[in-house]
């Protein structure tokens, strides 16, 4: 059940992180490590692709919160792309759309970074 995968693709100075499976209290540290590495590499323009994310728990949501301030201070951002309806519902209930840009296409998020 805790099948979870994080992969990453860099397009110029933009990093795209792909989440797959279940992001819960058990798998959250994996995602945390991935984000920490990006911050360490000073790669703070981040797009998280949620297309294959089946489930996100409050611990998973907490990971975004743990990094967002730091990343924004460094001039970067975390943009969320392609969430499924179910995952979007979770983000929406919590009020994430107020705080994060959530777009339906990964390219859209990348474009936004490029436009600056």
């Amino acid at each position: 059940m805790s099948e979870f995968e994080v992969t990453r693709k860099d397009v110029q100075d933009i990093s795209i992180v792909y989440l797959k499976g279940y992001l819960d209290a058990h798998t959250a540290p994996e995602f945390e490590t991935a984000l920490q590495q990006l911050v360490d590499e000073e790669k703070v323009k981040i797009v998280v692709n949620l297309a294959e994310l089946a489930y996100i728990s409050s611990a998973g949501l907490g990971v975004f919160m743990g990094f967002i301030e730091d990343i924004r201070q460094k001039g970067g951002d975390i943009k969320l792309a392609e969430p499924t309806e179910k995952v979007f519902r979770v983000f929406d209930l919590l009020g994430f759309p107020v705080l994060y840009e959530i777009v339906s296409k990964e390219s859209e998020a990348v474009e936004k970074y490029k436009k600056g």
Partner: protein, 696 residues
């Protein structure tokens, strides 16, 4: 019962014997024995044997007491027979058979005693034979008694047929013209076979064996010289009884002779046997002592001390395996510093030697030993070394060493003993470890339970009785402690606040935060009349005091009784639902999780929702644990499933609604473990509440 029956049989036998002998004593004609009296005497003996055997079952004697009694009986029997013999001899001198003179009645009393003693001797020997009896032991013994009985009967029958009375000597016994000879041979075979049954010798220690050997020889010399060469003495009194007594004396002499020979043969090894027995007992005691220790250092120290005592060592120490190396765990008799200073190479070589040595390693001359010569010269001053591995089920845990300052300080025998002791330490070490693990788990479980109990106490223990509304709630935590909570605050008679919330993350930290929130909510409820204000205040607190990645979702609702108005705000929490006449309404005003943003943003985003309630309305508050509960197929319980069941439950009391949802969810997840807390809170305005009516 046995006792009573035994006594009856025994006294009947005694009476019969006395009657028979009285008759016999009256019959002074030497050559014409009374058949009836002889029959009576025979029967009396059988009854006596039977009676004594019965009584013997109740006798509770130790082995030594039995042996002592046997010796005593043998001496008295010998002396009594000796007296009878002298009387018999005098009788011959005085007048012989022709005169028709017989012994006086007094002598018959002594003869009765002889018969009596003979029976006792037989029974006492039986007691010895039956010690540690084998498969055929009792059979052999009863065969012997049967042969003796047959001999008595046969003698009696010879009498009855009017043939010449069987005589005195062995030559007649071996008369094969009738059954007598065959029975005699059988009797002797049985006597010898029973003579081998003396396992009781093994239970005597060396000193007891020596004492019994000398006492036994003395007794047998006295009994033998006094009672031996009977000739026809006993037959003169009673022919049947005489045969019996003579057989018993023969049996006694053969049995005691063989037993004493056995004792004599075992005497040289008696010392070793004794030591073995002592060692076994000692090891048993050690096992029990070590087994009762549940603390590791105590086990090691006790082991060192006991090992030193057992093999009389000057220094002992235990080395325990740690990861890839070895660590000196305990020493006794010398500072551990010296053992630690021993060269590592030497210690390693020593270990290899121990691993291959069986049963344990013994180096008797350390100064001449290539491997551990150094141990002789330094502070350890080893003369000899004894060492064994500490194992449990083929797993090596360490080694135990014993050192004597003198060369050849340990015997060959110590090797086995030392290994046996080391094995016991191995088992005890395993026990200690198991005990430790279970204690730790117990403590951890206990702590979790305390935390869980403490957390559960933070939730309202009972629903407050609020006029005009029904309340019900349940909270099932997935782990021992979770982050869900709810509360009801009666701010004033006109206003009741209902709060439900969920702290992100799980476990202890979530529970701590929850406890803080409870206090905060209780305090804020009395200061604000708007849920948005209260949630914003809480947001500020969460943002500043909680971990960066921790947030809280919450619904804060206020029920104004008079207007039947519910005002609520939702901070990122799954929406509550209003059920009214087969219709559901999700209460989802815009909101944001607490701790996600600043108070300014929060105040801007949070919207309050107001709704008026009517009789029969039910509001269901929940946490995401209910919606996200999954079954084995991986499906979520979901909002739709909840909606359906709520529609089915229109017009049910709050407690019933709560109960049914809980069962429905349990049924849905089946045997899947619950992975998140599930909390449900029901608020209902009963349709037929009289109080409600009054209000209108």
């Amino acid at each position: 019962m046995h006792m009573k029956r035994g006594l009856i049989i025994w006294s009947t036998g005694t009476l019969l014997l006395l009657a028979a002998l009285a008759t016999l004593s009256g019959n002074r004609v030497f050559t014409a024995p009374s058949v009836a009296a002889e029959g009576l005497a025979g029967a009396a003996i059988l009854l006596l044997c039977w009676g004594f055997a019965h009584l013997e079952k109740r006798a509770d004697r130790t082995l030594l007491q039995t042996i002592g009694q046997l010796g005593l009986h043998a001496i008295i029997l010998g002396i009594a027979v000796f007296l009878l013999k002298r009387q018999y001899a005098e009788m011959h001198t005085w007048g012989g058979a022709d005169t028709g003179g017989g012994p006086g009645i007094g002598w018959y009393v002594i003869f009765a005693a002889v018969v009596y003693l003979a029976v006792r001797v037989l029974i006492l020997i039986q007691g010895l034979i039956f010690v540690d009896q084998g498969r055929r032991t009792s059979g052999l013994f009863y065969l012997l008694t049967a042969v003796i009985v047959l001999r008595i009967i046969q003698t009696f029958l010879t009498l009855g047929s009017g043939a010449e009375a069987p005589g005195a000597g062995w030559e007649e016994e071996f008369d094969f013209s009738n059954a007598t000879g065959v029975l005699t041979v059988l009797f002797l075979i049985m006597v010898v076979l029973n003579g081998f049954r003396c396992k009781w010798i093994h239970y005597l220690n060396r000193q007891q064996k020596i004492a019994i050997l000398f006492a036994g020889i003395a007794v047998n010399i006295i009994a033998g010289t006094a009672g031996g060469s009977l000739g026809g003495t006993l037959s003169r009194f009673s022919i049947t009884a005489g045969i019996f007594v003579r057989d018993i004396i023969t049996f006694y002499l053969v049995y005691s002779g063989m037993a004493l020979a056995g004792v004599l043969l075992q005497l040289p090894s008696a010392g070793i046997m004794d030591r073995r027995m002592r060692q076994i007992r000692y090891l048993q005691n050690l096992g029990a002592e070590l087994g009762s220790i549940i603390e590791k250092s105590e086990l090691l120290s006790t082991s060192c001390v006991l090992a030193a005592k057992m093999v009389k060592a000057d220094v002992t120490w235990i080395e325990m395996k740690t990861g890839d190396g070895y660590r000196l765990a305990w020493s006794s008799g010398l500072s551990s510093q010296y053992m630690e200073e021993l060269p590592a190479d030497m210690k390693k070589e020593l270990r290899t030697l121990i691993d291959t040595a069986k049963p344990s390693l013994l180096i008797n001359n350390v100064p001449r030993n290539d491997v551990c010569r150094q141990m002789a010269s330094d502070m350890v001053r080893a003369g000899s070394v004894l060492a064994a591995p500490l194992m449990f089920k083929d797993v090596l845990r360490g080694y135990i060493y014993a050192v004597s300052h003198s060369r050849f300080g340990f015997s060959e025998e110590n090797r086995g003993l030392f290994r046996a002791f080391a094995d016991q330490i191995g088992v005890a070490l395993e026990n200690v470890q198991l005990a430790q693990v279970s204690i730790e788990q117990e403590v951890y479980r206990e702590e979790l339970k305390l935390a869980h109990d403490a957390q559960m106490r933070l939730l309202p223990q009972t629903m407050p009785a609020v006029t005009g509304i029904e309340l019900d709630a349940f909270c099932v935590t997935a782990n021992e402690i979770g982050g869900d909570f709810y509360d009801i605050i009666q701010v004033n008679p006109e206003r009741t606040d209902i709060v439900i919330g969920d702290v992100s993350g799980k476990g202890a930290s979530a529970a701590f935060y929850m406890a803080e929130l409870k206090g905060l909510v209780q305090a804020l409820a009395h200061h604000h009349a708007c849920p948005v204000e209260i949630l914003t205040e809480i947001n500020g607190f969460v943002k500043t005091h909680f971990e960066k990645d921790t947030f809280v979702t919450m619904i804060y609702s206020m029920l104004f009784h008079k207007e039947r108005r519910l005002v609520l705000a939702r901070a990122g929490h799954p929406p509550a639902v209003r059920v009214r006449r087969n219709k559901t309404l999700w209460l989802e005003p815009a909101g944001l999780g607490l701790g996600l943003a600043t108070n300014d943003i929060m105040r801007r985003i949070l919207k309050k929702q107001e709704l008026s309630l009517v009789e029969g309305d039910t509001i269901v508050y929940l946490t995401d644990g209910l919606i996200e509960a999954r079954n084995r197929a991986g499906e979520e319980y979901g909002e739709e499933r909840l909606r359906q069941i709520l529609l089915d439950m229109d017009n049910l009391p709050a407690a019933e609604v709560s109960e049914r949802i809980r069962n429905h969810m349990q049924e849905f997840i089946g045997d899947m473990p619950q992975h998140d807390d599930v909390t449900l809170f029901i608020l209902r305005l009963p349709e037929d509440a009289p109080n409600n009516k009054e209000r209108d």
